[in-house]
Amino acid sequence: MTALLRSRHAPPVVGFLSLVGLLALVEVGIRVGLINRFVVPPPSSVVASLGRVVTEEGIPERFSQTAFEAAGAALLITLVGVPAGVLLHRFTRLRLAVEGWVAAFAAAPLVLAYPLFLVIFGRSQFTIIMMGFASGVAPVILKTLEGLSGVRRVLVDVGRSLKLTPFQQFRMVLLPAAVPTIFVGLRLGLIFALINIVGLEFLINFGGLGQLINELAERYDLPGTYAAIVFVVLVSVVFFLLLQRIEQWLRPGS
């Protein structure tokens, strides 16, 4: 038993069992009448409806659409957010001028600006991607800036003592040292992006898992609605695992 608990598989197994335990508690709560089954469906009925939702509601296409939009937004967030954070770190005056605005932008409920995005980009997947990008880019900028600013002075001095060029200093010391913090920003950005992507699919009825949740909720198919939410969580899990792999590749030894 002790050996089992010490194995590297123990944490994920315990995590999974905790989730199962929580769902079992909810199931019991519903069955004994502590939780209203017309608000929260029994987890067993959600699980039972998964197959039906997949076959009848076109889950593969919808999952692919939402995942594609999330991937597009994640790519834009990375390509714009990380270099923008680097620029703010490099130019102190620029940082002083805009850091506060970027922080305010990060906290703004951007989903409310969706009519503006519709006017600018039209009713298309591009609008949804841009909405995800706009809502997720600010934390990446801020965390990139924080990561670069927080690199230990001694590591910079090692680079200086070896006469590294500014580009070598950035590529070989600053950037790898900042990777863990930058990835915290990417995870936050992806969460914000996914919330807004699914939210916009929901609002403008433009396919994807968000629209499916809307349709199932309007049909008052509660198990189906929650089953669709499970697939949104699955998109999130896929991207988080992918980010974890990329981080381990970029920053081994952590």
Partner: protein, 287 residues
Amino acid sequence: MKGTAMAGDTPPIDARGPGAGDPLLVVDDVSVRFDTPQGPVTAVDRMSFDVRPGEFISVIGPSGCGKSTLFNVIGGLLDCSAGRVTVGGATVRGPHPSIGMVFQEESTFPWRTVIDNVAFPLEVRGVPKAERLDRARQTIALVGLAGFEQRFPSELSGGMRQRVSIARTLVFQPGILLMDEPFAALDEQTRLLLGDKVLQIQQDLKQTTLLITHSITEAVQLSDRIVVMTYRPGKLKRIVRIELPRPRTSDVVSSPAFGHYVAQIWGDLREEASRGMAESETAGRSP
């Protein structure tokens, strides 16, 4: 024996080192002043000494005497306000290729394995991969870490990580090894054992070494001469020549001569350290 002091003597201050040959490193009348909100502060005041090829010199002084400032000036990371530092006769302006620096803080790159950490300076200098890995392996063996090449720093102890830092500096064969309290964060036994390792390396490579330290025993164990600094502003108090036989090991700490040197240097430092403590307490009391 001009410029040096035997244990028990009270020598005149003379910064010239013993032995033949021109000095490799000269610290010539160096002062460092900083502007602070409370006004200008002199951290180092007219320090002068030299280091001859193959010598092991320690600079010792109480906390806050400007040792690390001096380390940064000699390493070219900080400009001095007056005076100059020369290496082989050339004035140091910025980091010098002949000076290899080992820092007080843990400074290995956590994302690189031991061998990639050690090979880093060679990678920066464009040495072909096969050659740099070969040289890195040899240097890792030199510091006693053979077998740990593929480990990451997070898998090593503090003492082992500092040995990686030393290997990373030795790998590009610097003319002068400059170390700033590299064992400060380690326990006493590990410090003594690492001192042995440094002594062995210094003797094998005839490595010219300048060590900044606040540990009297470490300085006496390792050095040919010890430069004693005063408390703020850091001035040269005197230079003590250590005439313990070489090759040395940590066994030397049990010899009467060792105790004699330690007592002598503590005699020099006690007054300075007391002054530093008194000033800190006064500053702490002021509103």
